[in-house]
C-alpha cells in the first residue's frame, strides 16, 4: 500500500453509500406504488452485496484455459428480491407502508452513518496531506 490511495483509503464506505442510495430509490418506488394494484414490493439484499464487495479482492475468479470456457467469479447475487408481506392486500399489492417507512428511515440513518465514516476518512487524509 504505502502511499495514500483513494481506493484503499476510503474502504467500503463509498460503496456502502452508493448501495444505500440505490436502496432508498427501491424503497421510494415501493411507497409510490402503495396504491397500484398487483404491485410487488421489492428490496435489495444489502448484506449479500456488502459480502460480495468485501470478498471481491479475494474472490475466486475462474480461469479460462480453453476456448469456449465461460469466465466467471464468485460474486454475490445483488439482484432485487421480493418482500414477503405480513398481510397481502386483496388486489395483489404487497406494499405495507408502515414497514416500508420504517425500513426507509433505517436506511437513511445507515446512509448518514456511512457518510460520517466517509467524511472522517477524507478529513484524515486531508490532515495527513497537510502535515501540520
Amino acid at each position: 500500500m504505502g502511499a495514500i490511495n483513494f481506493n484503499n483509503g476510503l474502504g467500503i464506505h463509498d460503496n456502502a453509500l452508493l448501495v444505500r442510495a440505490k436502496r432508498a430509490e427501491v424503497l421510494a418506488n415501493n411507497m409510490a406504488n402503495a396504491d397500484t394494484p398487483g404491485f410487488k414490493a421489492r428490496d435489495i439484499n444489502f448484506r449479500a452485496i456488502l459480502a460480495a464487495e468485501s470478498q471481491k479482492e479475494s474472490s475466486l475468479s475462474l480461469q479460462v484455459t480453453q476456448q469456449g470456457h465461460i469466465a466467471g467469479n464468485s460474486r454475490g447475487d445483488d439482484s432485487l428480491l421480493y418482500r414477503l408481506p405480513n398481510q397481502p392486500a386483496i388486489d395483489g399489492n404487497t406494499v405495507e407502508t408502515q414497514v416500508e417507512q420504517a425500513i426507509y428511515a433505517r436506511n437513511a440513518m445507515s446512509y448518514n452513518a456511512s457518510f460520517e465514516f466517509l467524511n472522517s476518512k477524507f478529513k484524515g487524509m486531508r490532515n495527513a496531506l497537510r502535515g501540520e
Binding site: A21, A28, N29, N33, D35, T36, T97, Q101, A108, F115
Partner: protein, 148 residues
C-alpha cells in the same frame, strides 16, 4: 446518483395521488347530478395506476442490445381514468324537472362513503411521498457537504 431518482419517484407518486384526489372531488361534486337518461348521467371516475417501467438496455459482449432483467420501476403512472361499472341509481320522482316520461330520474353511481375513504387514502399516500422526498433531500444535502 440514485438519490435524485427518489425525487422523480416520489414526485410521480404525488402526481398520481393528486389526480386521484381530483377524480374524488369530481365524483363527490357530481354525486347528485341527476339526469333523465342513462347515457347522460355522470358516472364515478377512477384513476388506473400502474408501475412506471424504465426500459433498461445494455450492450453485451457481442454488441447486441439486451434488456436488463430484475430492474426496479421508476415510480407510478396514471394509465387512464376509467368510469365505474356499477349501475346507476334510478329514482321515481315525477315532480323532478329532469324526470323522463315514466317519471324516473337517474342519479350517478357515486358512493360517497367510498369516495371519502379514497380521499383519506390518497391524502395519506401523498403525505408519505412528501416525507420520502424530504428525507432524500436531507440525505443529498449531507452528501454535498462531503469533505467540508
Amino acid at each position: 446518483m440514485s438519490l435524485s431518482n427518489v425525487f422523480d419517484i416520489a414526485g410521480s407518486g404525488m402526481n398520481a395521488q393528486s389526480i386521484r384526489l381530483n377524480t374524488t372531488a369530481s365524483n363527490i361534486a357530481n354525486a347528485e347530478s341527476a339526469s333523465s337518461s342513462v347515457e347522460e348521467t355522470y358516472r364515478a371516475r377512477k384513476p388506473w395506476f400502474a408501475v412506471m417501467q424504465q426500459e433498461f438496455t445494455s450492450v453485451n459482449e457481442r454488441g447486441q442490445f439486451q434488456r436488463l432483467e430484475g430492474q426496479t420501476g421508476v415510480g407510478v403512472q396514471v394509465l387512464d381514468i376509467v368510469e365505474k361499472d356499477a349501475p346507476l341509481k334510478p329514482k321515481f320522482q315525477p315532480d323532478h324537472p329532469m324526470a323522463n316520461e315514466d317519471g324516473y330520474v337517474y342519479y350517478p353511481n357515486v358512493n360517497v362513503v367510498e369516495e371519502m375513504t379514497d380521499m383519506m387514502s390518497s391524502s395519506r399516500s401523498y403525505q408519505m411521498n412528501v416525507e420520502v422526498m424530504k428525507t432524500a433531500k436531507q440525505m443529498l444535502q449531507r452528501t454535498l457537504s462531503l469533505g467540508q
